[in-house]
Amino acid sequence: MPCDAKSVAAAVLSAADTITAHRDELVRLDQAVGDGDHGENLNRGFGFVRAALEKSIPDTPGAVLKLVATTLIAKVGGAAGPLYGTAFLRAATALGDASELTADLLVAALRAALSGVVARGKAEPGDKTMVDALTPAADATGTTIADILTAAAAAAQAGADSTVPLVARKGRASYLGERSAGHLDPGARSTALLLNAFAKAANT
């Protein structure tokens, strides 16, 4: 099955549904080490994404991701808005104006997303941020889109889980010092959730 703009849009819509379903979980996670808005902010942002995609779907996979990026940047705010916005923007750039997503383009897009987040947020692996989920995800390989995304999603969740014992060194959780240890990073968790939703969409 070719992965055109419509397929990518469908995957984004299912990711939006995942965020809605996990809004409260992300709020709770962010309450523990931050300010409790991560789930609300992403849900608000993806709500606007959903509305935009339901109105009309751009022509190329890259254009779909660019729409996601600009919407998140304009509607989310907080740390996650610009970080996810940049991730989707760089991924969109990596896709160029290809009319279909390929395995190679996907690998390139994941790496571009990671380097965008790192460029903006300056976090390193181990800082207890979404970078801990995105870094292993960007190493995922495979021959099909579904394989790569499945591997990326699993890697992202493992990376997210690895944030639990860490002491945060970036973002709002870093204010807590040692008290940030013992909690899952909300941004790492949302990264895993998004990739998992994309993987599911690719596998159906």
Binding site: V33, G34, D35, N41, G81, R169, R172, R179
Partner: protein, 333 residues
Amino acid sequence: MKKIINEPADVVVEALRGLGLAHADLLRVGFDPEVVVRVDAPRPGKVAVVSGGGSGHEPLHGGFVGRGMLDAACPGAVFTSPTPDQIQAAVSQVDGGAGVLLLVKNYTGDILNFETAAELLAAEGVDVRTVVIDDDVAVQDSLYTAGRRGVGGTVLVEKIVGAAAEEGAGLDVCERLARVVVANTRSMGMALTAPTVPHVGDPSFTLGADEMEVGIGIHGEPGRRREPLADATGIVAGLLDPILSDLPFTVEDRILLFTNSMGGTPLLELYLAHGIAEEALARKGIRVERKLVGPYVTSLEMQGMSLTLLRLDDELVRLWDAPVHTPALRWGA
């Protein structure tokens, strides 16, 4: 959750509508995106001073829009930094051609969103500078944190820089002055209770009846440490000591003492704490030359307080005393 609100998702927009109605003589509120701008903006030839941040800290920042303080404020969702398009919209409505100074509290979200906006504005040819406010001594400023938070000191930066801009100071002077105020300002806060964010619905953290959070920020983030509840004298000492030793403030320094309520602490308690702080400073030989007491940088209904000290010189005193006319701060005008 007990709040005087309608839909949680509409809180900010509805509150802005009320702000706009209550102070139509001073400011106008725009929606989509949300901005609060001086009613007489843009003022040609005047440096525009713009700030913003998450909502829930009122009167910060919208309550400081007006003559002698901010030209515009960008209110984000509750406890969430504003988005670049809000910042761009605000700037475009107040840019008087003499440059724009963005005053940004140091939080990752605020930094990233203002940074994005600043890049886009610069690309449009706006002379835009950014000064980051990071006065919270509760946070270690090191490579291993996001750096110190911007808290109570924000009001002082906004007032003093706003006064300079109002007098016609240029962008370089305003930027330098903002950095001077930031460099000479230190704050620390504590909380007795947690705020409840409307879209969350329950308190941001839970404190035992005999506990307090010390080194708290203004977003319901838990503080640096949890301590047994102390009396007012102990609380004030616990805030004052780390502030004093940080800059450090020394004997014969002239200071502005800002005793801030986090929102839910009544004025009765706030004045009580202020008196203890002033007396403690007097005993140390530090001269309190200006005072500000009230709920100015709040965290919704959180009970608690912060202290902010600013080391003054003649120029800062003059600019502090300069006329200001905003919803929340007004004198000489």
